[in-house]
């Protein structure tokens, strides 16, 4: 049921951006590593101190930069290292999930899971499940949509979506 999804050579494979809290879920993912559990390689994790730090902007930014799914991992209710950060995350999540759905992003593309430091297995299960779901949904491809939208203009003098990296690349002669 939860076999590691096979990588797809050359063809599209979903990209999943994860925001894991330092104390529970990031550690659980470390544990999954130490226990050599195997899961889908599509996940790219960003470590934050607490799920309460997950700014809804991060979620939208990830989608807009090409994520097919976003996973947030935090400590179980009552177990937050910072007492209540996970509740704040949950409260935001309940509305942002509905809002992105209004904006055409399927609900399954955004998921919040409570994964304690001991639940390496759950990291594996959740990631594999979500990657399977994303595969079934197909690409979200927001950057590609931006390009398609912009193609209807005869020309653009200014990049519609300003990129940071363009500005931050500095020559170092």
């Amino acid at each position: 049921m939860n076999a590691t999804p096979k990588p797809t050579n050359g063809s599209w494979s979903p990209s999943l951006v994860a925001f894991f809290c330092n104390w529970c879920t990031y550690t659980a993912a470390d544990l999954a590593g130490v226990s050599r559990m195997k899961y889908a390689p599509n996940i790219r994790t960003i470590r934050l101190m607490c799920s309460g730090r997950v700014d809804p902007q991060f979620i939208l930014d990830a989608f807009s930069k090409g994520a097919d799914g976003v996973l947030i991992g935090g400590c179980h209710p009552n177990d937050c290292h910072y007492a209540e950060g996970n509740y704040k995350c949950l409260r935001r999540f309940r509305l942002i999930k509905r809002m992105v759905a209004d904006l055409g992003i399927e609900e399954q593309r955004l998921r919040l899971e409570w994964i304690s430091a001991a639940e390496g297995e759950k990291v594996k299960t959740v990631v594999n499940e979500m990657v399977d779901q994303l595969k079934a949904l197909g690409p979200l491809g927001i950057p590609k949509q931006f390009a398609e939208w912009d193609a209807e203009m005869t020309r653009l003098e200014h990049a519609a979506q300003t990129s940071q990296s363009a500005e931050s690349e500095v020559a170092h002669a």
């Binding site: 509305l95 992003i105 209807e152 203009m153 200014h158």
Partner: protein
């Protein structure tokens, strides 16, 4: 010495911004004294060809209001950009898409169908739609094409400054024109209003309790609004804390909550997401069901948090909408 030349142009907007210029009242005379308005289709009889004939960069500035959603607006934006030293996005629609950008939630076809066929006040049994080209008696007339996507001005041309507001207040308009004339413009890309959220200049700020712990959200028509108390303390969404100041808190003074027309601060990529984050975090409930119950008071999060900014939000438009090519 010749007076500096400026242009004023109207794209996809309600016209309120034009009105706002007029609202400078007697100050408009002062402005007219100091500048030559070379192009203002709404108020003065100049032709497009007149501007086209001018050398590039011969206008000091163009104040362009309205979002860009038609081929004509696109073309005019490019032309005025070429002719102007400074391109200034004037008003919410030009800055961030404004109300027209809420159309980014729907496919163009649906909008056209509703407007020309289905709206309750429309009688159009032949289902006639505007055509891009129409020839009769050997004469051909054209209409601009409506684009699928509504854009802010800076998503089409390079913009030097932004004067936000729906519409911008006379105060910031005057200040901007003053700065322009005196040549003390801030760095390119600046928004010409203070980069602090509205609460600072709101008279209701001190009435807000430290912990509002929302148990319900009410919309303005669902509640008798207290004329002094912070709207958040009344469970009414007020975008003030997520919106930059400069308007003098006009809406709260008129007993209406801020709806966010000035846009977010320079630190914020997505005004709506930030507002959502702040309101939600302050909900009292801890269980998913109870949280959802509280959030029932926000039936339309996109309309609430992106009323003026959907085009410039991180997602810009509803994903997966069809792109039809206009005929």
């Amino acid at each position: 010495m010749p007076k500096p030349k400026i242009g004023i142009y109207w794209c996809a907007s309600c016209g309120g911004c034009e009105e706002a210029v007029v609202d400078l009242a007697e100050d408009i005379l002062g402005v007219v004294e100091k500048v030559d308005i070379m192009f203002w289709p709404c108020a003065m009889d100049f032709k497009k060809a007149d501007v086209e004939a001018m050398p590039d960069k011969s206008l000091v500035a163009t104040l362009l209001n309205g979002a860009i959603r038609s081929s004509e607006q696109e073309e005019m934006a490019h032309m005025l950009r070429r002719k102007s030293k400074y391109m200034i996005a004037y008003g919410s629609c030009a800055c961030t898409g404004g109300i027209p950008a809420l159309a980014n939630q729907f496919p163009r076809e649906q909008i056209l169908r509703y407007v020309y066929e289905e709206s309750p006040t429309t009688v159009n049994e032949a289902k006639t739609r505007p055509q891009l080209k129409f020839a009769e008696a050997g004469r051909e007339v054209t209409l601009p094409e409506l684009r699928n996507v509504v854009r802010s001005l800076d998503q089409v041309v390079d913009v030097d400054y932004y004067i936000p507001g729906c519409p911008p207040t006379p105060k910031i308009t005057k200040a901007a024109i003053g700065a322009l004339l005196e040549g003390r413009m801030p760095p390119k890309g600046s928004v010409l209003s203070p980069d602090v959220a509205l609460c600072e200049e709101c008279s209701r700020r001190d009435s807000k309790p430290t912990n509002v712990a929302f148990t319900e959200f009410k919309r303005t028509h669902q509640k008798h609004l207290d004329p002094q108390l912070c709207f958040l303390a009344q469970g009414v969404i007020c975008m003030g804390a997520a919106t930059r100041q400069g308007c003098g808190a006009q809406c709260p003074s008129g007993n209406m909550p801020c709806t966010g027309c000035f846009g977010g601060t320079d630190r914020v990529k997505d005004q709506g997401a930030k507002a959502l984050s702040s309101f939600c975090a302050n909900i009292a409930a801890k269980e998913a069901d109870e949280i959802d119950q509280t959030l029932k008071g926000i039936p339309d999060p996109v309309g609430t948090f992106y009323r003026y900014g959907l085009a410039k939000s991180l997602l810009r438009r509803k994903a997966g909408l069809p792109m039809s090519n206009g005929k």
